[in-house]
Structures are given as structure tokens and as C-alpha cells.
Symmetry: D2
Subunit: 363 residues, 4 copies
Amino acid sequence: MKAVRKMKSELGAELVTVDKPKIGSDDILVKVKATSICGTDVHIYKWDEWSQNRIKVPQTLGHEVAGEVVEVGEHCKRIKVGDYISAETHIYDPGDLTALLGQFHIGENMKILGVDCDGAFAEYFVVPEIVAWVNEKSIPPEFATVQEPLGNATYAVLGEDCDVAGKRMVIIGDGPIALFAIGVAKVSGITALFHIGKYDLNMEIGKKMGSDYQLYANKEDIKRVEFIKDHTDGFGVDIVLDMAGSPQALDEGFKMLRKGGRFTAFGVAAKSPCLIDYNNGIVFKGAQIHGISGRKIFDTWYRNRNFLASGLLDISPVITHLFSLEDYEKGFNEMMTRPRKSAKIILFPDEKELEQAKQRMKK
Amino acid sequence: MKAVRKMKSELGAELVTVDKPKIGSDDILVKVKATSICGTDVHIYKWDEWSQNRIKVPQTLGHEVAGEVVEVGEHCKRIKVGDYISAETHIYDPGDLTALLGQFHIGENMKILGVDCDGAFAEYFVVPEIVAWVNEKSIPPEFATVQEPLGNATYAVLGEDCDVAGKRMVIIGDGPIALFAIGVAKVSGITALFHIGKYDLNMEIGKKMGSDYQLYANKEDIKRVEFIKDHTDGFGVDIVLDMAGSPQALDEGFKMLRKGGRFTAFGVAAKSPCLIDYNNGIVFKGAQIHGISGRKIFDTWYRNRNFLASGLLDISPVITHLFSLEDYEKGFNEMMTRPRKSAKIILFPDEKELEQAKQRMKK
Amino acid sequence: MKAVRKMKSELGAELVTVDKPKIGSDDILVKVKATSICGTDVHIYKWDEWSQNRIKVPQTLGHEVAGEVVEVGEHCKRIKVGDYISAETHIYDPGDLTALLGQFHIGENMKILGVDCDGAFAEYFVVPEIVAWVNEKSIPPEFATVQEPLGNATYAVLGEDCDVAGKRMVIIGDGPIALFAIGVAKVSGITALFHIGKYDLNMEIGKKMGSDYQLYANKEDIKRVEFIKDHTDGFGVDIVLDMAGSPQALDEGFKMLRKGGRFTAFGVAAKSPCLIDYNNGIVFKGAQIHGISGRKIFDTWYRNRNFLASGLLDISPVITHLFSLEDYEKGFNEMMTRPRKSAKIILFPDEKELEQAKQRMKK
Amino acid sequence: MKAVRKMKSELGAELVTVDKPKIGSDDILVKVKATSICGTDVHIYKWDEWSQNRIKVPQTLGHEVAGEVVEVGEHCKRIKVGDYISAETHIYDPGDLTALLGQFHIGENMKILGVDCDGAFAEYFVVPEIVAWVNEKSIPPEFATVQEPLGNATYAVLGEDCDVAGKRMVIIGDGPIALFAIGVAKVSGITALFHIGKYDLNMEIGKKMGSDYQLYANKEDIKRVEFIKDHTDGFGVDIVLDMAGSPQALDEGFKMLRKGGRFTAFGVAAKSPCLIDYNNGIVFKGAQIHGISGRKIFDTWYRNRNFLASGLLDISPVITHLFSLEDYEKGFNEMMTRPRKSAKIILFPDEKELEQAKQRMKK
């Protein structure tokens, strides 16, 4: 079968032919309908410092995916051949204390699909049954594949308490997850959404996803904190969702938050430890900080299934490119272009699936 | 001034001229812009058993209201002359344990505006400053006056935990509060809203407010519980919101709820104690029942202000009639007609306000 | 091996010799160190209506247990031979919506150990790995075996929100779970614990477990509701935990609760539907009712492990009898005696374990 | 009357005779029975940079207090002459958004008793009725006066979710609030309490309050993080409560926390912004950080009243010195001694009250 694999310890990846993978008794084998490129894939493609320490070559890239189950291990109970599934990429260890307590998405011994084992940029991939999620058939593959990053967005928006309706929110960042988060926030009842980003295309997509105010992070003449206080009776917003992790975001983010508000820490800081205004931003502010990594398994998946299958949430503005899997390099090049000219890029191993997706996206 | 008052212990109410009320040092005097008829007003108008035991004549009716502050008591701190306000009708005793713990809307020694003291069906009314809520100027009086029942709806939808986004809900009942609740639920991220009611007009308004499925409570041929299970993978909905209180509602409501779901008990049972399937509906189901009376002070008001001022929530379909205060009898007659031919009815003491509202509602 | 089994559709059970059970690839085989008699076992022993409809003979009774793992199925990952374990008896179906959402203890397709399959009143028993809990070695078998009912108590006391410290509580009922609940409530910060029960021995054990006030349910001269209001500034308690399910408990329980309080519905009503004062007890009271069945998996187990291993919670007063498994009939007879002369009864298949337990309990 | 006042912009304070203060219509006048020295008082006494910017001389120090109401303003409703009260020191502005939403303890326009107005180191003091809390008569003045810092402890231990029973906790710091927190944590069901502090006396008091493990922060040979991981199955504790704010505390504190745990940020950092391991400590850890300032009004007071009046929580080990108000300088000197030789110091304006307290503390 075809697979996009990291073959050597250097920039790039190769389209190669490999054997169809074999499954263990707890695994399922999935024929890929659509897969999508994540920022993590770009890190591995670029072969940055993090990748060099974490990834063992050769390895198939990719972890956002939707496909059809073609084989199940002998001990699988929940998933059946023919199921249309996506996969949670946080493959938890059931013996982790977090897993025993129901916090499956974080753990001491967790593995990540496409990072610690072969991924889904291929015609087929293997994943343990415990992280498979059965998709509603009405959700097309180009939407089903992005439920993993959409799940990040939903968990980040809802936080630990899911209390958002009728509140006001700042979202900082303009990558695909931030753009998804705008959509989730708006359909969840955020009444004023202030979006802070850098790139014209993405600010525009954010607007289509429902942002009420667009503030550029990289324009000197805008007083962002003042603007937000002016539009919130002087108090600041109820919730700040940081998806950038930049020093500017962490500085301004806490200032935009009202006392007693919630700050979602999703963006990864380029350098950590980093400077935080601990006293004014957290202690005296009586703030709640929710560190968010991954997605609640499967609480977030359930909500997103409902959002997408009902049509309440339309994520199509975020999906900017559909490519054949063979054109993966085009995809990576688009992802690395700055200023950004893309948001979410979907790859299809099967040309027919690509054509059908193109037809659907045209409407 | 003009006021609609219960003068005698019998059906009806009278439009009379009375002195403008005087305020105490903790009160505010408000010139009424709009006021609206609640089911409680109808109970008092009809002079039913509850009213006969609770109301002391003569008394001015009405408690849903929006108006301008024209005088404030010498100890008022928060509210100023000229403020455009609405009033929370649950006038709490600050010494109640519930008030000390922040649950202001319920208490042992609470008074209700228009029930335990003169209300707002008049040119002017008096209310303690502690329950006044300053409205956003952009919210028109015909919307601002219904924030009290809208607050019931919002609190009932969000419950104690405010966890609704991406979930599925049944709403039983088709009075104005149920119709508001449909709108609140949909803008808060409910992806499938099953509405159960009786009257064509109200089912139609429910649809305009966003209900996804309309099921008649009074048609024999519909298997409501089965329908809902069929549309929720056999499990039932995450949340049931009962606003009817009928034996049928309480029986079916618990059956429609999935295990581990939330049941909001808002509707008042005609007779209580009443039969509840305690074992299957609550204990074995692992259900959470949230008894809801009133609105969180002022948490609910804040969210509704945001919903209305942002335009995210459009409540105009629920407002079916605008009358002059002098036409209050028309209003009560509409309210009492069955099958229902009205939802929310607004009264205006000032003809100019009535005309402006009519203009706005036309758009 | 020896096993206490229901052999015929009639009262009683028999000690028989059967083959050691065989395990499937996801199961573990456990050598029983201690097992204890639950009210459910008594129902099956008595062969009441519920048992006749649910149980298929022949079947081994018992589900409260502690033992050592002697064999694990080939696909077991978490549990190892030699582990000292207890078992969660709610064997969930991983495909239930509740299981997908982390509410493992309730579900449409759940099986109960010792009810829907052979139980633990035997030298060995089999259970799926997914419900096995590894015990701390320092917790003796006579404590470890009762962690299942202790888990009921802990979940019922903590409810869904776990907010109990510094609050006041009523516990109605005097079976072993209610007595455990008293202990859990007191070590969790309940400052005033009102215990309502019937039998002298159990009221006395409740006192040892920490109850602050003992009120008899079956004495006419005590005005229980008034007593509790008098001792809570006239407001009632913050939390009522019903473990009786009787009409009197459901009537008085809601009256003892303060407005805005929490009512834990754990006791099963003898007849359901039953009369509940829905309006005054739930709606107008703004009460939260938490229906509790089972125990959070494994959140409750984690807390109880901590409670027991640290010695913070001493449950020894509740354990009234230690018997050899062969003396199971003595155990059942004690359980059925009224007025109650026992609380928790432990059975030991191995005489040496029994002797050691007797030595420990003497101290 | 006698009062301890800051008369000049320099170190120290003076015992002077001033007029008894006059009350406004919303205030109460209180005859002081006991008052206690807070770290904030020491800052003002020392006249550090913060004090120089915040305090206007002359001003009476002190804000922890218990006393009897001798006069009430004409608009007071809840408090009566003769009431035995303590005072919440966060005098909120009812117009703050936080106050409208029930988060009274933080706000944009809040005033602090003894910081922004005259305090309680005097025979009489004045405070607005809205922050007065009526004490249970059975709580002696030397306990009632410290309910303000005890409230810090309780809020910090319970956090926003109050979920502590059956969990494991680290408390960093050994000032009086940290010592109170140990006691609150233990009576609230913390099963393993790791206390990290510096001074022998305070570590010893912590042990009396219930700490299970004592780890010195200032000893090089102890590997604190490793120790805690070793005692928590390698995962870390469920909750870390930082009351130190030092770089070491903020570094180690996050490392001691298990994934998905809660970190209470109570200690104020000496310098802010400061370095935080944002990625590993918050984002990847899926941690919840609760910034805590003040105490929930009056939720925390209610719980502490219950804790103290029931005798469940004994705070006497923390109270190390009882002085006459005239000996305030001894008190300040004790407070400033390092290594610490004191924890909580109580001052009595009335010699008789001092004598009675001494008698009670002897027992």
C-alpha cells in the first residue's frame, strides 16, 4: 500500500510502498477515506528539535483520520467490520491513575498515534479499538477526519466546567484549532467573540466561523486590552482562550480577563518556563486556569458528533485545501507558507473520495 | 396615576387612578415603559384558590417590567435616576441562609413583587434597589420586560451546571417560558431539540425559536418516548426540561431521559404530592434532578443581557400581542383563551411607547 | 472447589463442590480471601419476586470480595498474577453511551457480578479484568471485601459534586451502607450528622462511626423534622442522604432539607411509582436530587483506597460477624433477623484467613 | 478610646486615644473583644513599599476581629445591637460585575478593612453591615477573630469545586494560614497531607493540625518531589496548595502535582511576572489552577462556623500568643522574628477578655 513516511533523519517525507499493516488482537485495521495534516506533522516533516528527540524513523506520519474498518482483532468488542470510524490519538494506558479516574486524555504512559507509532497518511492504518470512535454516516470524511483537532477546540472552549452560554470570550491564535474554536464558541452561546490573530486569510475565516470582533495581534496601533475592556463594561471578558502561547498572548490574555474569569491554557509556549504575571493575572484576579491537552474521551467526541451531524456547526470555512495523498508535499508546503495561505488541508488516498469531497465542498 | 388593580375578592381587575407610590430609603421609583402578563397574574385575575390564600386586596398586579428610574431612596448606591432598569421579582431577605450562600432566588423569607406587594401594571412602581437590574439601552422595552420569564427559561435550560453545548434536549410545555427555553437552548448549543406541546400556534412559535422536532402531547397516535429513543441511538436525551408539571409529562419525561442525564423540574404539578417513578426515573437511572424556581440573581440576568444585546437570541416570535395598559382586559382574555391563541402579551402605559414597539416589531 | 450456589428455584442456597471456573482471554481468576453478604444476596437467598425474574439457577452467589489473582487471560494488560484485588460489580458494556461518556457505573447493557453471572461465594471466581481494582496490600481482606458497598456509601455521600466539607447532613437508614456513609461523611467534613434509623445495635454502630445525633424512625414521640430544623437555625440541613426508600423517609427527607440543598436518592422504594411532594420538595425548594446507583469507576475506589490505607476511616464497627464460608447459613440467618442483630458479615473460604481476621478485629 | 494607629510614614505604630468612630446609616459599631495580627498588618507596620503606596496616615491598623455590636445604622436590616460578629474584610462594591455574579470577594472597586479605611486594633470599630457575619455564641473570641484568615485557608483548600475528600494534598508554606489549611484539609478528608515549610515551631504546629509528612523546604538533602512521587504511586498528589509564592514553591509545586490535578495559587510571588513552567506545569499536565484571594462571602464563613461550633476543627495549636492590645509591639516583634517563634497572635483591648481567653487556652 501507499504511505507517506519519514524515512530518514532529515527534512521531508517520502511516498513509499509498504506492506499493509497487521493487527494485534485488540486492534482494528482501517481503510483510510480522508486524513488531514496537523501542526505536529509539520514539526516532524521539518525535523525540528522536538521531532529529533521523539520520533524513530522510519515511521508513517498522520493522525487525523476517517475511514472504514476492514478487519478487527479477535478481542475487539465494540467496533465491527464496516464501521465508519475516526480515532482518538491519545492511546491511553488503562493502568494510568488518570485513566482509572476517567481523565483518559492525559497520562504518564500515554502513546500518540503517528508520533509513537505508525500513523494514518496511508491507504490503511492500525489503531487499538479502545480509541476508535464510530462516526455518524452523515458526516463526510473531510469533516470526520478533523474531529481530532475540532475536539481540541471544543474541549478548550468548554473547559472543565462547560459553562459558556451567555458569556463573552477572547480567542487568541489563528491556526485551524483556533478557527474551529470560534465556531464552537459561537454555537455554544458566546455572545461576544473577540478574535486576535495575525493573517488576513485566517481572520477572514474566523469571521465566517462567527467572530464578532477581529483584532490583529501584529498591528501596533490597536490597543487590544483597552478595546476589549471598552466592549465589556470595563471588566474584561469572562473567558480567555489562548491558542498561541506567545509572550504577547500570555501577557495580554490575562489582562483581558475579568476578575473571577476562566483562562484556557491550550497554546504551547515556545520556551517554558516563561514569564507569567502570576500575582495580577492569577492570584489577585481569582482566575481559574484550565490547562488543556487533547480531548475528553469520549465526551468531546460525542458533542462534536452532535454538532456536525445536526448541522448546527458548519466547519467548512476552515477546510481550505483538498489534495490527493500523493500530493502530500503540496499540502506540507501550503502549511509552512507564511503569511498563512491555508487553514486545514485534507488528503485522500483514494481519488474517488477526493472527487466526491470536492463536489460536496463546492455547494 | 393609572394602575390595574385587584380591588375585590373576585374574578377580574380594575383600571383605577391612585397616588403615585412613595419610596423608602432603599427603594427606587420607576416610570414604566413596558410590562407583561405572566401566568401568575392570570391566577390572581381569575382569583383561584392559591390567589385567595396569598393575595391581599387591593393590590396592583404585574411584575414583569422595564422602565426608567425617576427617583432613588437616599441609601441607594448602585442605581441612579435615569437608569433604564428591569426588576428581579424575588425580593430576598439578606438574612436568609440561602442569601448568605449566594442562592438569592430562593429563601424562607422571600417576597414576590406583584404578589406580596404592589406590582408594575401601572404608570409607576416601587421596588427595592437590591433587585433592580440595569438594562442595556439597546434592548427595547418589549424585550426588556420579559427578561424575568426569559430568566426562568435560561436558568431552567442551563440548570445548576450550565453544561448543555453539544447535547440533546427535550422541552415539555408550550407556554411562553417553554418557548423562550427553546430559543435559549438552541443558541446554547443544543443540537437536537424535541419540543412537546399541545397548541398549533405555540408549536409553530417553538419551531421559529428553533425546535428541531415537534411532538404533540395530546395526540394518541404518536409514541413520543419511542420517537425520542429512536432519534438518540436508543439511549434517550441528555437533558429533559419539564415546564408542564402534568402527570403525563412527569411520567414520559423520566422515560425520555438517558441514564445519567439531567432532568430540570420547573413545571409545577397541579397536585403535589404526586406519583413519580422514583426507582426507574431517578435512582437506577443515576439521574440528576434540578429543581428550578426563579432565576439566579444576577447571573441569569447577565447572560440574558448578553444574549439580547448581542442579537444572538431573537425572542420576537414569542411576543404575540402589544396592548395599551388600558386594554389589559383584552390581554387577560387572550391569555385565558384555549386552545392558546397567544404567547407573550406586553402592555404599555404610554401610547408613544406602544407605537414605537409596534414599529419595531413590524420589521 | 467449594461454592455457595443457588441450585433450585426456592428459598436457600447450597454448599456444593464444583469445578474451578475457566477464564476467557479478558478475564482474571481470583482465589478468594474474603467475601461478604450483601442485601442483594439475601434477596436471592429468599428467592423473592425480583430474584425469580432475574436469576437463572444454578448460580454462585456473592459479589463483595477480595482475593489474589492466580491466572490472567491472554489479553489482560493491567492486572497481573499475584495482584491483590477487589472487583467492581457493575460490569459495563464499553459500547454504552454512558460508558463512552465516563459514567461506567450505569448503562443499558450492564451486567452485575453474582446476579447475571456466577459470583464470589466460592474458593475461586472469575471476573473481567476491566472491573478489577488493585488493593493496597495494607488493607486487610475483611476491609477490602466491603469496598463495594463502602463505594456506594462514598458516592452517595459525595454525590456528583463532592461538595460536603463544612456542611450538615441527614442520613436515613441503618443498613451497613448507611453506617459506612456516616463514617465517610464524618471524615469528609460533615459537621453535624443526624442519623435516622430503627434498630438499637445499628444506631449504636452509627454513633461509633461518628453520628452526632441519633433519631429513631420508629418512635412516635420524636418530631424528627422539627428537631433537625431546631438544630440548623430553622433552615434544615444542606444535604439529605436517603438510604431507606420508605414512604416516611421520602416524605420527611425532603422536609429536612434546606432550600437549595442536595438530596441523594440511594434507597430503593418498595413500590415505584410512589408519592413525592414534587412541588415543595423539589421545584420550590430549588433542590438538587442526585440519583445514585453503584459507584464511580474507579474514582470512588481511589478515594476509598486512600481512606482505608491511610487509616483515616475506620470501618471496623460495621463489621459484626466473621464466618467460615461453610457457615454461610449462619450468615444469612443473621442478615434476616429483625430487629437487626448484625451489620456487615464476612465469609472466609480459607480457615487461616478467618483466624487472621479474627486476630486483627480483636485489637 | 484606645487605638493602635499608624501616625507617620515610617516604621511602627502608636497606641493613641481617639474619638469613638461614628457610623453611617449602613454601618455598624462594634466593641472589640479580640483582634489578631495579620501579615498585612506587619507590612504596614514595617512601612514597606506596598504600604507606602497604599496606606494613608493616620490610620488604625487591624482587620481580623470579633466583637459585640453596640450600634447599628438606621438602614441596617440584618444585624442587631447585641449580635456577636466578625467581619469579612473585603468590602465589596455591589455594582462590580463580580458582585452581581456572586463573586463578592474580588472586584474592581473593592475596599479592604484596615487597609483602605480604619481597622480594628481599637476598642471600637466601624464596618458596613453587608460584610458583618454573626458568630455562633459558643465560638470564643480568640477563635472568632481568626475566621478571616481561616476563611482564606478553607477557600484555598476547597478551591472552586470543593472536591477534596479521599484525595492527597501538598501544602507549601508555614505561616498561620498554611497551618490552618492543614487542619481544614484533614477534617475535609485529605488522606495524605504533605507539609512543606521551614521553621521547627511551625512544622510542629502543622503536625498537631494533622500533617502526615513534614518536609523542610530549606534542607538540601531532602528530595521533596521524589519523596512525594514515591508516596503517591509515582503520580504526584491530586492537589497542591501553594501558600509561599517563592520561586522554589512554584517550581516544585507543579512538579508534585499529578496530571489532571488542581493547583491552588494563594501565595503571592515576591516578584511578578515570574517564571512558571507553563507547558509542563499547566498545559501538558491538564492542570486546573485556582487563583484564590479572600474568602467566598459568606459560603466560607458558613462552613467555618460549622467547623468551629461543632468542634470538628480545633485551631488552638495555631494560636501561640495572647496579648493585651497595649502590648501590640510585643505582638509585632514576635511576628517579625525569624526563625519564626509564633503563629497566630491575638490582641485584647479588654483585660477581662484576655484573662478569660488565657483560661480557655490552658485547657
